[in-house]
Subunit: 796 residues, 2 copies
């Protein structure tokens, strides 16, 4: 076989970077990461992108920035407090060394996702367009490269390399999905992996592996299309079991442009969250330069009983789920493979067995991790809010549904194809017609069943069409968007009666990291929310929901919204501006208290966590008793306060909160050391928290005190504390504070986190900002937005 | 006549704001300034702009900003050192109270200039489009308003007011003029006045007043079109002389859609720069609701003799000219009327009698000021650089030429219609064809002559088409872009031989305000420039040019480039990034040294200025003699150094530099007081400068010293000085320095001036930054971009 001009080591590296083993993709491909330039504006055309430039001459502007892919051009401004995030066109350019090793081979650029519309150019020639920011697609550059190489400019200006440009556009467009009324950023950029792929003349496409378990065995159908080749070559199909043995091996003829093969596997190893067994199907299209392709698959059955429960491989499994956006502090949608791996592992460690990839198709690595970690998946298309558009809009929705199913149907983790979200939400058009929406949803529902007869469909929140999908989730946000969280059970019972298959998707509460409260009223209303945005309220709400869910005998499952805080253009006035703070971890992955609540209910590995690690100071009267909560899945926990035992408790679900691990304890003025000791079989766990107790009531705020502090992970922070005339922290203060520094690079800002925001609400009178580097010799300054106390500064 | 719902006082205010007397515009109009909102992004459509909004709900974003018109959306980023200026769409919206007092009247929005493309909407209905950022145009909203008022949404959502939106777009487009290769910003925004205008059913348009002086008298032709009316009403025409007497009064019939009248004025008062006599032509279209209209005009003849000179009213006038862009610190193109008035007065005070409005049609106020101050005008269309586009491009050029001539032909100040600039500059298209450019220029030339047979045409720099226009300027930048400035005369002579009518447009040099040099070599080459970017070099170059020009007997005139520093996307690496520093005043109007050089040659009012007001420190050996220059139009000047006279000198053009006012004087270590005393007839003028003289040579720079200083106009500044180990200023240092403050509002930045730039080259080892407010309790920090010395801070 001809050699591609990258070393084997590099090939391996690319594959590792891509997050999928080389074998999964028999064709030769290299991931394109370095060597790109970017400009965040529209260019008149590709000529302006590639015309010859003399330094300092007019052609040298605009200035391009060197970037590495993946790259999201809203990495910063999505959460910048002072601007609307950029929505519009932007360009990427690179020079490729194209060296296809195959005779009459195909050269493709494979994009895993570009936000939100894209055009690809080889020099000034447009070679591909794509609409939709979440599905994968190819730009076939074979012919354009061939012809460009004939040109004089190829030799003289580019020395044989191939100039490639990608124009992205995330501009507002009501005839595009998702709607700008969606509660997340419509990010721009080449924010997922890109590959340069060489295919031989003939190759396989659209390979489907469809396993069906039947009475202790399973049938596996393998089919696909044959592209680029005349004649009827053979396809060699091998199936390798999770344990490495070849369990099927056959050569099949191609039938014109297609091939298919069917196998029966006896006593298959079933895939489940607890044992995610993965088979491998290896395909070779036999020609002079063979094409190799590998798909992973798993064998499992799943079923939603009418009115519950959910069955996996014939046994009840309660779906313990969460949600994820492709969004992370500092990078926006352009999460690195490492970030994705860490996040998915964190979700698994929390105890989840289910995830809704809301509200759009996610990248291959995510699905591969769901397969290998054992996370069942609801994946959906971004038909989200705003109403129903015209032909262009509908064509895009259909195309994205088709792409999602074709591209991800071989993943055993996927159990539901979501058709949309909140399609009862009007706004993008003067007209809003329920009948049209119902009709279009039915059309998509039929389409999904036709494309994949093995899976069910789902919708969250569109009550006037709840009979359309196979599985439905109403909107139940007990204690947040409606009623009290203690009403959860009755709300669920009401809803369950109205549809045969209910899965409760989206529940939870915003929590501003670091905000805590001694008393949480369940009927507090802040704005149109039914809570006070404290971690305490969220913890109580999560605790209640999880307890109730654990006691519902026919519950199929649920998924709280959302695993991680994420950027949204819709919430400029949130405590962290432009951040949806419903995550159980912050936007950089730092756990909030709710993370441990969930873990205490769902995880099997012993864990123990005293509520209040980010609650350094609480207040009350002398000798008043204060609630201490410990979240743990241990069978017994003992609490000690300042060395004195407060008693051992046993885990009892009925004993809310914290499944019985709650104490009412006396705290003394000044520092108090809380130690919890948990017992789980032979395992003994300890957790310690030091909390300051303040018995002096605070008065009118008079100033900000800034101090330099060390974070838990060794990071350097500046903490601002709003104090009264006696220096007592004003623990109820929640005003907006702003930070700046005389060295503009010194602060880590625009992260959308509690320690990385230039503008943020105080949490219990406090806020912190992280230093990006040692930053000596400069001054950090902080001020309240309302100007009610003097600006404060600290010299570093 | 029906009453408009604005009080007379308000009407007057609007007229004063508009800068033109009410009488000039008989129709009722109000300037729209307050009550607008702006968003710097594209919206999907006008529905998104006006749909109902509930606070904090999805429709509430993006966030709109309250703005006052005129408004330029590149006011800040045009000169921001870290970004490419925004080029793309943006929206404005307002709610108008429309109350047209006329029966079947017309309601127009009159835009004096919107960058660079515009669409106007009444609610969701598009009512007008315009391409071209520099000519005036109307959006007729009569019908759209009438129909909108029938709608339910008008009553329910807008309470009878009329929602109007304007979408601007200054995105890159090679099929639009001017080219993005132009050396100025293609600003975006409604950056010129906008009026809501009510016209009666019939009205006059396109009124031309064409005076022709003939042997001691003058004929005046008045013509125009009649719009909106059937029948043949009378037009009452009156001409009022500059002294207020009615010198003509006649009723003329309209001929279908047109009218015309002709008068002879005996012994007319001629218009000239020294006596800008303005006549008034008052027109009334006689109908039940009369339409009134007034035009100013002036009577003058002008002629370019072959090979010079230029004659005004039959006598030689040397054109002493400069250039202006619509650009100012802090506002971009959206200069206020006050700013414009001050600038035009400053140009007049400098002694100019001529201005090229380069490179585009400017707003009415500018032309009115040229008329009333006495500044002859070369006005041109922005066909500038890049090559020649296709049909859309050419149609726009034709349309802009037509608009410019129709809109400004009644101004007596205008003497030349410029067809373009640097049309020999390729780059926007792969092809560049001289013949096509020649052909198109000839076409424009014919068009201009057809539209206005009374004026000549002109072009600067397109040597292969120099025979096309009536008047031609080659590119002669002696001492800057080519050769030495002492070669100026020979370069002019060479050029003059090649065309019959030469006017030297564009000469000068960049000067970085505050940079001075004791020795100026005429053969220094910095980059591709032939000077050192010092004010000293520019002063010497200007001095030489002006002296030579004063001694050229057949010179028609010249115009130096440019009056004021201005923003340009092409020069990110200039000493002030993104600022073309060729102005004789800074971007905020602060004079540089060259201003006084020009004034000393051109102004008639006595003036005196010692070179070096911004040169606080110079260096040399002990007892070395140093040059002191005084720029003055006085006949005699005496210089005193530290109280000791250095002698009286007489003004002698032949005695370069400073027309003889140069001395070689001894300075002592430390402060030296220089006093110049000038004598002009009975007027005695004095000027004083204190300069520190440093005899210690400086060594390696070791640090920055920051001090708080008071500016001359009372402003507060922080000065940074790069010093060696002994504290001696490193006077040759020209590295980039950056400023920041822990209070982000404290520094006045992004002004494009020497005291208003976050990133700027040191001038003689110094740089200053201005404080926007008292700014106590914060820290200003400064650092060299190359990191070669430690960051420095000063606590305020």
């Amino acid at each position: 076989m001809p050699k591609i001009r990258i070393s084997p080591a590099l090939t391996l590296l690319f594959c590792l970077l891509a997050g999928t083993p080389l074998l999964l993709h028999g064709q030769q491909r290299q991931r394109l990461s370095a060597g790109w330039q970017f400009v965040r504006m529209d260019m008149a055309n590709a000529w302006e992108v590639f015309r010859p430039v003399v330094p300092d001459k007019p052609e040298s502007v605009p200035l391009w920035q060197d970037v590495t892919l993946p790259h999201c051009y809203n990495a910063v401004d999505a959460v910048s407090p002072d601007v609307n995030y950029y929505q519009g066109a932007a360009w990427y350019r690179t020079l490729l060394t194209v060296d296809n090793p195959y005779t009459d081979g195909h050269t493709l650029l494979h994009f895993e996702g570009v936000g939100q519309k894209a055009r690809v150019y080889v020099y000034t020639r447009e070679v591909a367009r794509h609409v939709g920011g979440y599905d994968a697609w190819d730009a076939d550059i074979t012919q354009a490269v061939r012809e460009f190489r004939q040109t004089e400019v190829c030799r003289s200006q580019f020395h044989g390399r191939v100039p490639v440009a990608v124009r992205c556009d995330n501009g507002r467009d009501t005839e595009m999905i998702p709607s700008d009324m969606s509660d997340f950023c419509l990010y721009g950029g080449i924010y997922r992996p890109v590959y340069l792929t060489y295919l031989p003349q003939g190759y396989l496409a659209d390979v489907a592996v469809t396993p069906r378990p039947v009475h202790g065995s399973a049938t596996v159908e393998v089919s696909g299309s044959v592209q680029g080749l005349r004649g009827q070559p053979l396809v060699h199909v091998r199936v390798v079991s999770p344990r490495g043995s070849v369990v099927a091996d056959r050569r099949v003829k191609t039938d014109g442009d297609h091939f298919s093969a069917s196998f029966t596997l006896h006593r298959p190893l079933l895939w489940s969250p607890g044992a995610p067994m993965l088979y491998r199907c290896e395909l070779v299209l036999e020609q002079s330069e063979p094409y190799r392709h590998t798909e992973q698959f798993g064998i499992r059955s799943c079923w939603f009983e009418e009115h519950g429960p959910f069955l996996l491989n014939g046994r009840r499994l309660v779906l313990h789920g969460t949600h994820r956006h492709e969004d992370h502090a500092g990078v926006g949608a352009a999460m690195t493979d490492d970030m994705i791996r860490r996040e998915m592992q964190q979700i698994k460690d929390m105890g989840a067995n289910f995830i809704r990839l809301g509200h759009y198709q996610q990248q291959d690595l995510v699905l591969h991790l769901c397969d290998s970690l054992g996370l069942l998946v609801w994946e959906e298309i971004p038909w989200c809010r705003g109403g129903l558009g015209g032909e262009r809009y509908r064509a895009q929705a259909e195309q994205m549904l088709t792409a999602m199913i074709r591209q991800h149907r071989n993943h055993p983790s996927v159990i539901l194809w979501g058709l949309g979200n909140e399609n009862d939400w009007p706004g993008d058009f003067p007209e809003f017609d329920r009948d049209s929406i119902r009709a279009f949803m039915s059309h998509l529902n039929d389409m999904a069943h036709r494309l994949d007869p093995t899976r069910l469909t789902s919708i969250r929140r569109c009550d006037f069409a709840k009979d359309v999908p196979d599985v439905y989730s109403p909107s139940i946000w007990a204690g947040w968007y409606s009623r009290k969280f203690t009403d959860y059970r009755s709300m669920m019972e009401e809803a369950a009666a109205t549809v045969p298959r209910l899965l409760h998707i989206e529940w939870g509460a915003d929590s501003h990291a670091g905000r805590h409260a001694d008393q949480v009223a369940t009927d507090v209303v802040a704005g149109d929310r039914n809570g006070d945005w404290s971690e305490t309220y969220a913890v109580k709400l999560f605790d209640w929901h999880l307890r109730e869910q654990a006691m519902m005998p026919r519950l199929t499952g649920s998924a709280f919204w959302s695993f991680k805080d994420f950027a949204t253009p819709l919430r400029p006035n949130n405590p962290i501006p432009y951040v949806n703070e419903k995550g159980v971890v912050q936007r950089d992955g730092t756990p909030k208290e709710t993370f441990y609540v969930v873990q205490s209910y769902w995880a099997t590995r012993p864990m123990l966590h005293i509520y209040g690690h980010t609650w350094p100071e609480r207040a009350g009267r002398e000798r008043e008793r204060k609630e201490v909560l410990v979240y743990s899945n241990c069978s017994r926990v003992e609490l000690l306060v300042n060395g004195v035992t407060m008693g051992m408790r046993s885990r009892r679900l009925a004993d809310y909160p914290a499944a019985g691990f709650h104490w009412s304890v006396p705290l003394r003025q000044g520092d108090n050391t809380l130690v919890a000791v948990g017992y789980s079989g032979k395992t003994v766990l300890r957790d310690t928290v030091v909390q300051r107790y303040e018995t002096r009531p605070w008065g009118t705020p008079v100033g900000l005190r800034l101090t330099r502090v060390n974070g838990k992970a060794g990071e350097q922070l500046v903490e601002a504390r709003l104090v009264d005339a006696c220096g007592v922290t004003c623990l109820d203060a929640s005003r907006f504070i702003c930070f700046a520094c005389s060295d503009p690079t010194a602060l880590l800002v625009d992260q959308g986190t509690a320690t990385g925001s230039r503008r943020i609400q105080l949490a219990n009178g406090r806020a912190t900002i992280r230093l990006a580097h040692a930053a000596d010799g400069c001054q950090v300054s902080a001020w309240l937005e309302d100007g009610s106390v003097p600006r404060a500064g600290i010299d570093l």
